[in-house]
């Protein structure tokens, strides 16, 4: 049995050790994240079979759960940490060639910190610890957004920072209230005691926490930072923000809602909120001419879809939602990576600047196309089975309301299709004016794209690969009593 703590400890430790490595040799610095995440990914995969049988609870410092801080490596946690490690690994490989300017050491350090924070969020069993890891994630991402240091980067970073800080303050107030009510910070313990308090006194901290986490999870009115930050960050960071950061935020929201509060009566509200987020995100994306803003708004839309799926709160729906989450990470990560090199080549973020990219960067364009098709939900790519599950779950409710909502969701898909296909057309079917020399992304850039594409295809054709993990993750989220039992014993 390996210890899940290593999943957090390795990147965190390496992050702080990185400047030391930098003293030895400047050149090896950029390989450290790669190494870290190879390790993490292998470890997470190694953990999966164990975790499917029984969640692993690690007590830090040896105190039993209600008192000490603990890590809970259940199916959800391991699924997410595998996902984080995978995306982190691929983006780190991508960054080998992509990050050529600026303080590279700091980039890699912050990058490791960001993902260590993210892993911490998904693995922790303690709500304050969650806050701390969350802040690690957030602060490092503020800094990374500003990494390029141009006007847009700084502006978006400060905006992101202010909203994020307000959100974290709310989160902290909520945690304080909870602690005041129950005198414990352990999530399982909180969950156990939650029914003992009056509903309104639980409601306020819940809302505070959800608002705080919702800022990171890009739920509708709280997501104004997202398009700015995603579009101004370096593309590798955009990929991580879009593929990991907001997913982790969403994980936190879901964990709080499902496990701690068991707030089943809020689900209807979240279903509406999800659909609203979806529609607004997709419609804003539809009106964009800037590729990265478009992708960023599309992320909002996808988050809305996932929120909607989660809010249906059946085991199908959770499986579908988690699957959609996975497919979004894969698809959006791929899209940002490819967009990064296309922007690099064309020198502009305008979609119209990508004319003729199909000839100039064939592999990159192909990868972009596959990512786009996957996000729209076309078979045989991974977006299809996930959307399939969500739609089926919504219809299995056999309520007219949910049928209408799923209709709206799929309307969002139509809009999504419209703007993604527009880009695909620009890539392949517009004549390049001027430079049409064929020069693809460097190998280090292509490898992660190819791996992403491979995952998209394999999971699309053979969804059974992950469906078991997803199913047990869904049941972990759905059955809070089992979670409590497995943590508290």
């Amino acid at each position: 049995m390996v210890n899940p703590v290593l999943l957090i400890a390795v990147p965190l430790g390496l992050a702080f050790a990185l400047p030391l490595f930098g003293l030895i040799s400047k050149r090896i610095v950029k390989y450290i994240p790669v190494v870290a995440f190879i390790f993490n990914f292998a470890l997470a995969l190694r953990l999966i079979p164990d975790v499917l049988k029984q969640a692993i609870v690690v007590e830090i410092g040896g105190f039993p759960p209600p008192f000490g801080i603990n890590l809970v490596a259940g199916p959800v946690g391991v699924l997410f940490s595998a996902l984080i490690a995978l995306a982190g690994l691929l983006v780190a490989v991508y960054a080998l060639a992509y990050i050529t300017e600026g303080p590279k050491e700091k980039y890699h350090m912050l990058y490791l910190l960001l993902l260590a924070g993210a892993t911490g969020v998904v693995l922790t069993g303690d709500i304050f610890n969650l806050f701390v890891f969350f802040e690690i994630l957030c602060i490092s991402s503020y800094a990374l957004v500003a990494y390029i240091g141009d006007r847009a980067g700084i502006e978006s970073a400060i905006k992101y920072l202010i909203q994020g800080a307000v959100g974290s303050s709310f989160l902290l107030i909520g945690i304080g209230l909870l602690y005041g009510l129950f005198g414990t910070l352990n999530m399982a313990d909180l969950a156990q005691q939650i029914e003992s308090a009056s509903s309104i006194s639980v409601f306020v901290p819940m809302v505070l926490i959800i608002t705080g986490l919702g800022v990171e999870a890009a739920i509708f009115p709280l997501n104004a930072w997202l398009p700015d930050a995603h579009s101004s960050a370096p593309s590798s960071i955009s990929a991580i923000l879009s593929g990991i950061a907001i997913e982790v935020g969403l994980y936190a929201v879901v964990r709080v809602l499902f496990t701690i509060f068991g707030a089943t009566n809020m689900f209807m509200f979240f279903a509406f909120l999800g659909v609203l987020t979806l529609l607004i995100g997709e419609m804003c994306a539809f009106a964009q001419n800037n590729i990265k803003r478009m992708l960023a708004y599309s992320s909002i839309g996808q988050m809305g879809l996932i929120v909607f799926a989660m809010a249906i709160a059946t085991s199908y729906a959770l499986t579908g939602g988690l699957f959609q989450l996975v497919s979004h990470t894969l698809g959006k990560g791929l899209l940002f990576l490819t967009a990064g090199y296309m922007i690099y080549r064309s020198g502009s973020m305008e979609i119209s600047a990508f004319e003729g990219m199909g000839k100039r960067m064939p592999l990159t364009s192909l990868a972009f196309t596959i990512g786009a098709f996957s996000l729209v939900g076309l078979p045989p790519f991974v977006g299809f089975p996930s959307k399939f599950l969500i739609v089926r779950a919504a219809l299995a409710k056999e309520e007219i309301l949910f049928t209408v909502l799923i209709g709206l969701v799929l309307l969002g898909t139509v809009i999504e299709g419209a703007y993604f296909f527009r880009v695909v057309q620009v890539l392949y079917f517009k004549k390049a004016n001027g430079n049409s020399e064929r020069k693809d992304a460097p190998v280090a850039g292509l490898i992660p794209m190819v791996v992403f594409v491979a995952f998209i295809l394999v999971m699309g054709i053979y969804p059974q690969l992950v469906i078991e993990v997803l199913n047990s993750a869904a049941s972990e989220l759905l059955h809070r009593m089992e979670y409590i039992r497995s943590v508290l014993g």
């Binding site: 905006k159 202010i162 909203q163 307000v166 959100g167 709310f170 509903s199 309104i200 409601f203 306020v204 809302v207 608002t211 800022v215 009115p221 709280l222 104004a224 398009p227 707030a263 009566n265 509200f269 607004i280 419609m283 804003c284 539809f286 009106a287 964009q288 708004y297 098709f373 729209v376 076309l378 078979p379 045989p380 299809f384 089975p385 959307k387 399939f388 599950l389 739609v391 089926r392 219809l395 049928t403 799923i406 209709g407 799929l410 898909t413 139509v414 809009i415 299709g417 296909f421 527009r422 695909v424 057309q425 392949y428 079917f429 517009k430 004549k431 054709i461 969804p463 059974q464 469906i467």
Partner: protein, 618 residues
């Protein structure tokens, strides 16, 4: 021979020809032709077989099933033959273009996915192949660049709308019955409540009507037909659009069954009546709009919309006669529209992509085979006796008249009469009349284009004179849906209320032609004269543009043009504009001012707490 093998050959052929194109381009074209022809040959051996087998268990616990029966075989045969002919036609057509590997990949992929659709034994695989078809088609429609992009966008957006609606329908089936296996569903679904069946019909109907371009949902078609590469038009117009027809047959007759499907809804608003009326409106409106077109491919596109209406009319009433007519018309339409597009393609190939009817003319002298193709094509389209279109249209008219729907029959017939006008316009503007100076040296179409045209011309005549051959197969399909068997003879259909006997017509026409020919021969031999030697009040005619094409049916245009416009297409454009405006409006929310953003957060929080305190919703 297993169906998996067929699909592997189809999809593998597509991928391999792409790879060959990258590795050694010389053998790509032969390979594509051989693989598609081999597919057609293999398909022929499947005749009359019925089998069903799962080919993949891995999709979310649902087995993906392939099955074949007469219906599937009928469509698959047509798809593979027309596909093979289109591939042969493409040989020269795309030779000098860019990214031909991509073209072949998508063409063969579209073909293969259509085969997948008809062989699909459950809805998941149906949907998967359907979507593969959609995006491969989208990529091909956009292939020509320029205006093709808009056409491609229209196509793919409407396709997504359709597939979304189909997804909801099919997953509601799954949610209720727990299976997507078509054969199982066909046992379970007929006992569902009427409301649910109507819901199903509407959802699936939207998907299939979009694909089949039934009238309010047709807007993608004219542009898509006009802008896609002409060599692909064969596949697109012939069978790909008619996958909607297959879908309608599947949902109405296979899954729900005629007994329930035809009695759904109150009185005159029965589902099938509404379908039939939509078909009738489609026929009339699209025919008159086709009349107003000046672009050969737009014209054929609108014509194809109208012909789709005939098929719908045929199957809507659920009599064995009408069903036979509808299915047979699908086949016939595929044959002649492919032929027509090929002939346009040959003309385009030789005249530098010219497809503006007003700029062509007189090509009969230079491209006789293409002309014969076009002539037989429009004969089939009009339904001239002894061509295939006649038989199927005859069946449809007869159904409508005998079922007591003279207004629908009127719509169908008037569609045919309008069809004559635009068909004549098509042939006249391109092939008849004066040959423009710049096309004096135009060569004949290359052999790779002539061969499919000749084959299809022969097929038109064959099915027109011996309609019994396909009708027997179609009759089997009809009986498999539980309909009464028709009295099919080799020469047509015998019944008490009016018999069709093509051999009599054939004999009469041949005899009449011989007699008239003899009479004509009795006179002095006609002297062939140059085209310039025509009467122009004694003047020598101008060398160029003495061909009356612009505003050919001017008085008629003036009469109908205010009423027959593509209002729905215009509405869709407007809708797109409105959507754009709404989107722009919505994104104004993100003002860029940080105070507003913080306000959103605070307001969200405050609102939640306020609502809870006030109403205690949660």
């Amino acid at each position: 021979m297993s169906l998996e093998l067929l699909l592997i050959v189809a999809f593998g052929g597509a991928l391999l020809s792409y790879l060959f194109g990258k590795i050694c381009p010389q053998i790509r074209d032969p390979f594509a032709v051989i693989s598609s022809v081999a597919l057609a040959v293999m398909m022929a051996f499947l005749y009359g077989k019925t089998m069903e087998s799962p080919f993949y268990f891995g999709f979310l616990g649902l087995p993906l099933i392939l099955r074949t029966n007469m219906l599937a075989w009928f469509f698959a045969m047509a798809i593979s033959i027309l596909g093979a002919l289109s591939v042969i036609f493409s040989w020269d057509y795309v030779k000098d273009r860019e990214r031909t590997d991509f073209y072949y990949l998508m063409l063969l992929l579209a073909n293969a996915s259509m085969l997948g659709i008809v062989f699909a034994g459950d809805f998941v695989s149906f949907f998967v192949f359907w979507e593969i078809m959609s995006w491969s088609t989208f990529l091909l429609i956009s292939y020509n660049r320029g205006r093709a992009l808009g056409a491609g966008m229209k196509y793919i957006i409407m396709s997504i709308v359709g597939s979304v609606s189909m997804l909801i329908g099919m997953l509601s089936l799954y949610a209720i019955y727990g299976t997507l296996h078509i054969a199982t569903l066909s046992k379970l679904v007929p006992s569902a409540s009427s409301g649910y069946l109507l819901f199903l019909f509407i959802l699936f109907g939207i998907a299939f009507a979009i694909k089949n371009a039934l009238m309010p949902l047709h807007t993608w078609l004219p542009d898509a037909y006009a802008e896609s590469p002409t060599s692909f038009n064969g596949v697109l117009s012939g069978m790909l659009t008619r996958m909607g027809m297959y879908g309608f047959l599947l949902i109405i007759y296979v899954i729900v069954g005629a007994a329930r499907a035809l009695n759904l809804g109150p009185g005159i608003f029965k589902f099938n009546y509404i379908l039939a009326w939509l078909g009738a409106i489609t026929i009339v409106v699209s025919t008159f709009i086709a009349l107003l077109q000046n672009d050969a491919k737009q014209l054929l596109g609108w014509s194809a919309i109208g012909q789709g209406g005939y098929m719908i009319l045929g199957i809507a009433f659920g009599t064995s006669l009408g069903l036979a007519g509808g299915i047979f018309h699908t086949l016939n339409h595929a044959v002649y529209i492919v032929l027509l597009f090929m002939s346009v393609g040959a003309v385009q190939y030789r005249t530098g992509g010219q497809r503006d009817l007003d700029s062509l003319g007189g090509l009969i002298k230079r491209m006789p085979v293409s002309f014969i193709g076009a002539l037989l094509g429009i004969s089939g389209l009009i339904g001239i006796p002894l061509t295939n279109g006649f038989v199927s249209k005859w069946l449809i008219y007869k159904t409508l008249i005998l079922e007591g729907h003279p207004f629908l029959a009127f719509a169908a017939l008037i569609g045919t009469w309008g069809c004559i006008l635009y068909c004549y316009k098509f042939v006249h503007h391109i092939f008849l009349g004066q040959l423009p100076e710049k096309y004096k040296m135009v060569a004949r179409a290359p052999f790779s284009m002539q061969l499919p045209m000749i084959i299809l011309s022969l097929v038109i005549l064959l099915f027109g004179i011996l309609p019994g051959i396909p009708l027997k197969v179609i009759n089997t399909i009809g009986t498999s849906f539980g309909f009464q068997s028709l009295n099919v003879t080799t020469w047509g259909i015998a019944s008490e209320t009016g018999t069709l006997n093509t051999i009599n017509i054939f004999a009469a026409v041949v005899a009449a032609c011989v007699i008239v020919w003899l009479i004509f021969k009795a006179g002095p031999k006609a002297v062939p004269v140059a085209q310039e030697d025509t009467y122009a009040a004694g003047a020598a005619i101008p060398k160029d543009r003495y061909h009356y094409t612009v505003d050919f049916y001017n008085p008629l245009y003036r009469m109908i043009s205010p009423y027959f416009k593509d209002f729905i297409g215009g509405f869709c454009i407007k809708l797109a504009g409105w959507t754009q405006n709404v989107c722009h409006g919505i994104r104004q929310m993100y003002t860029g001012y940080i105070g507003h953003y913080v306000m959103y957060i605070v307001l969200f929080l405050a609102l939640l707490i306020f609502v809870q305190l006030k109403w205690s919703l949660w």
